[in-house]
C-alpha cells in the first residue's frame, strides 16, 4: 500500500505543476549557464537524439508523436526498456542502438523503426503500416495482430510469431518458435529458417512460407502447392525486406478451411 500512496502523491505533484519533469530540466539548464547550454538542449531535441540512460521513454514517444516535428530520431542506451518508439504516426525514421524490452514499435503507423539489437516480447504488435527491422533476435509474439506494414527480423523469433496476424508481412531471416501464426487471418509470414511445433494452428487466410524444416503443423494448417505467382510474391517480399534468398526453395502453408465455423463433421481436424 505504501507504494501506491507514494505513486499517487508523485502523480498529484506532477499534475499540480504541469509538465514538471521537462520544465525543471530546462529551467535548471538555463539557470546554470545561459545561452550556450540552452541552445545545446534545443539542438538535441531538434536533432531527435534520445539517450534512454537519461531521457525517459515517455519523452521519446511524445517527441515521436509531435506532428511536423523531427524526421530522424536516434535512440541510444535503450537498456531493454519497454515501449520504445510506440505509436508513431508519421513518416519518420527511428534508429535504436541496442536491445529493447516489451512492445517496441507497437501500433506503428508509417514510421521506419530500425533496432540494432534484440527485441523483447510483442515487438511491432498491432502495427498498421510502416517498416520495423530488428537486427538481432525477437522474443515471443513478434508482430502479433499487426494489420499492415512490414516487420523484418534478421535473427530468430521465438514462440507465437505473427499470432493473430491481420494483414502485415513478417519476414524472419532465422527460425521461429512454436505456435507461430496461430489464428493468423491475413498477411504473410516468411521464415527463411525452420519453424517450431504447431505452425499455423487454426490459421485463416494468412500465407506462411518456410524455407527450412517445419517441426509440425497445427490444426487445420496444410502444405499447399507453390505456384509461379507464389514464388513471385515471395521474391517481392524478400526483396522488400532486403534479404537475399532463393524463393523457389520455400514451401507454402495455409488453411485447410475446415475450422472456420464449428462443424461437428470436422471435429477430427482439431
Amino acid at each position: 500500500m505504501a507504494t501506491r500512496k507514494k505513486k499517487t502523491t508523485k502523480k498529484a505533484a506532477r499534475k499540480k505543476s504541469g509538465k514538471k519533469v521537462v520544465r525543471k530540466t530546462s529551467s535548471k539548464a538555463s539557470s546554470k549557464t545561459s545561452g550556450k547550454k540552452k541552445a545545446k538542449a534545443a539542438t538535441r531535441s531538434a536533432s531527435g537524439k534520445f539517450d534512454l540512460a537519461k531521457d525517459t521513454t515517455r519523452q521519446l514517444n511524445k517527441a515521436l508523436h509531435k506532428p511536423g516535428g523531427t524526421k530522424v530520431f536516434t535512440v541510444t542506451n535503450p537498456g531493454g526498456k519497454h515501449s520504445v518508439a510506440v505509436g508513431a504516426m508519421d513518416d519518420i525514421t527511428v534508429n535504436v542502438q541496442g536491445h529493447v524490452g516489451y512492445y517496441c514499435a507497437g501500433m506503428n503507423q508509417s514510421a521506419t523503426i530500425d533496432v540494432h539489437g534484440n527485441a523483447g516480447p510483442g515487438v511491432a504488435e498491432n502495427m498498421m503500416s510502416g517498416t520495423v527491422r530488428i537486427r538481432g533476435n525477437a522474443s515471443q509474439y513478434a508482430g502479433a495482430t499487426s494489420h499492415g506494414g512490414m516487420l523484418i527480423i534478421e535473427g530468430d523469433a521465438s514462440s507465437r510469431c505473427g499470432i493473430s496476424l491481420k494483414g502485415a508481412d513478417i519476414i524472419v531471416k532465422g527460425s521461429i518458435g512454436h505456435m507461430s501464426a496461430f489464428m493468423a487471418q491475413a498477411g504473410n509470414l516468411v521464415v527463411c529458417g525452420d519453424a517450431g511445433a504447431d505452425l499455423g494452428d487454426s490459421v485463416y487466410e494468412a500465407v506462411i512460407y518456410v524455407g527450412g524444416k517445419v517441426e509440425s503443423l497445427g490444426a487445420d494448417c496444410v502444405e499447399k502447392p507453390m505456384g509461379k505467382k507464389h514464388v513471385k510474391q515471395l521474391e517481392t517480399l524478400l526483396k522488400q525486406a532486403g534479404i537475399k534468398d532463393d524463393a523457389s526453395r520455400f514451401k507454402r502453408y495455409g488453411s485447410a478451411r475446415k475450422l472456420y465455423n464449428f462443424n461437428i463433421d470436422n471435429a477430427g481436424a482439431y
Binding site: 524490452g101 534484440n118 533476435n137 518458435g177
Partner: protein, 308 residues
C-alpha cells in the same frame, strides 16, 4: 507476474560484488513483483566451509534473542553454534563433524521445529543462505543489506502474488533440500493434488503456495536419487501450469521453462559471468552486458551452470 534474477560469477574477482549487482537486478524487476522479494545467496565455499552446517532461520519478532537460541541449540547438539544476523533472519551454523551421531543439521532443524514452532527455517545446507521479506525489492534489499553480500552466485525473486497470500513464508526462494532453492514465475494448476501426494511421500509444506509444491516436488525427486537434470525433466511431465524456474545449487544454477513458455526468460553470458532474468533490462547494467551472448532459453529444456 513475478521477476526472476540469477547471477553466477565465472570470474572469482566478481564475487565480492555479486550482492551489489543482484540488488540492482532485483530492483529493476520491481514492477514485475512489488509484493515481496528474496535472495538465495551462495557465499564462496571450500572443503573446510563445507564441513559446517548452516540454517537460515526467520523470526517475526524483531527482538528475537538469537544468542540465547544458539546457546540452547548448542547445548542440545553438544557443540558451538555461531550466529550471523541479517534483519529478521539469522544464519545459525556449527560443525557437522561429530562422532557416531546422525546428521547434525537435521538434528538442529528438528530441535528448532519442536522447541520454537514460531520460527521458520528458510534454508539448510553447508553454503546456502535464504533471505526473503514482504515489501518492495528496494526496501528488502536495504533491509537485508544485500549490497554487501559476497557470493559465487545468487538467485533472486520479486513476487506479484496471484494465488496465495503475501507473507514472508509465501515469498521466494523456496528451499528444495540441502543447498538447493527454487524461484518461480508463473502458476501451477495441479498443485493441490500434487501437494497431497507429496505429503504421503514424507515431504512437508509450510504454506498453501503453488511454487512451494514445485520446490517440494524437486526435493522429492532428488531424494529418490535422481540428478537435478532428470528431476527437472520429470517436472515437465508432472507439473501442470506455467513456469519459468531458476534453481540454485551449491555450485551453480539451472533454468527451466514449461513447454508452452509464456513466461519470459533471458540468459546472458560473458567471460566473467552468467546471468538469468525475466527480462533483459535487469541484465543491461551488468559490466560487459553490451557484448554478452544473449539468448532466450528454449521451452522444456534444462540449462545449467556448475549444477549437476
Amino acid at each position: 507476474m513475478c521477476g526472476i534474477v540469477g547471477l553466477y560469477a565465472k570470474n572469482k574477482k566478481l564475487r565480492p560484488r555479486i550482492g551489489e549487482y543482484v540488488s540492482d537486478m532485483l530492483i529493476e524487476m520491481s514492477d514485475r513483483g512489488p509484493d515481496s522479494a528474496g535472495l538465495a545467496v551462495y557465499p564462496p565455499s571450500d572443503a573446510k566451509s563445507r564441513k559446517r552446517w548452516k540454517l537460515t532461520v526467520f523470526s517475526e519478532d524483531a527482538r528475537e534473542n538469537w544468542s540465547a537460541l544458539a546457546k540452547s541449540l548448542g547445548e542440545h547438539l553438544g557443540g558451538d553454534v555461531i550466529i550471523s544476523k541479517r534483519a529478521s533472519h539469522c544464519v545459525l551454523s556449527g560443525s557437522n563433524v561429530r562422532k557416531g551421531s546422525g546428521n547434525v543439521m537435521d538434528k538442529a532443524g528438528a530441535w528448532i521445529e519442536a522447541q520454537r514452532p514460531d520460527l521458520t527455517v528458510m534454508s539448510a545446507g553447508d553454503t546456502i543462505e535464504i533471505y526473503k521479506e514482504k515489501g518492495l525489492p528496494r526496501d528488502v534489499v536495504k533491509k537485508f543489506n544485500f549490497r554487501d553480500v559476497g557470493a559465487s552466485h545468487a538467485i533472486g525473486h520479486t513476487r506479484m502474488a496471484t494465488e496465495s497470500a503475501v507473507t514472508t513464508e509465501h515469498s521466494h526462494p523456496f528451499s528444495t533440500g540441502q543447498d538447493l532453492c527454487l524461484v518461480h514465475n508463473g502458476s501451477l494448476s495441479n498443485h493441490n493434488r500434487l501437494r497431497d501426494y507429496l505429503k504421503t511421500q514424507g515431504i512437508s509444506f509450510k504454506t498453501d503456495n503453488d511454487s512451494e509444491v514445485a520446490a517440494g516436488y524437486l526435493a522429492w525427486r532428488l531424494g529418490q536419487g535422481h540428478s537435478l537434470q532428470k528431476s527437472l525433466m520429470h517436472a515437465v511431465d508432472d507439473l501442470d501450469g506455467f513456469y519459468t524456474f531458476a534453481i540454485g545449487t551449491r555450485d551453480g544454477f539451472a533454468v527451466l521453462r514449461d513447454p508452452i513458455a509464456c513466461k519470459p526468460a533471458v540468459l546472458a553470458e560473458t567471460r566473467d559471468w552468467v546471468a538469468m532474468s525475466s527480462e533483459f533490462r535487469a541484465i543491461a547494467k551488468l559490466p560487459g552486458a553490451k557484448d554478452a551472448k544473449i539468448w532466450e532459453p528454449e521451452p522444456g529444456k534444462v540449462y545449467s551452470w556448475g549444477a549437476n
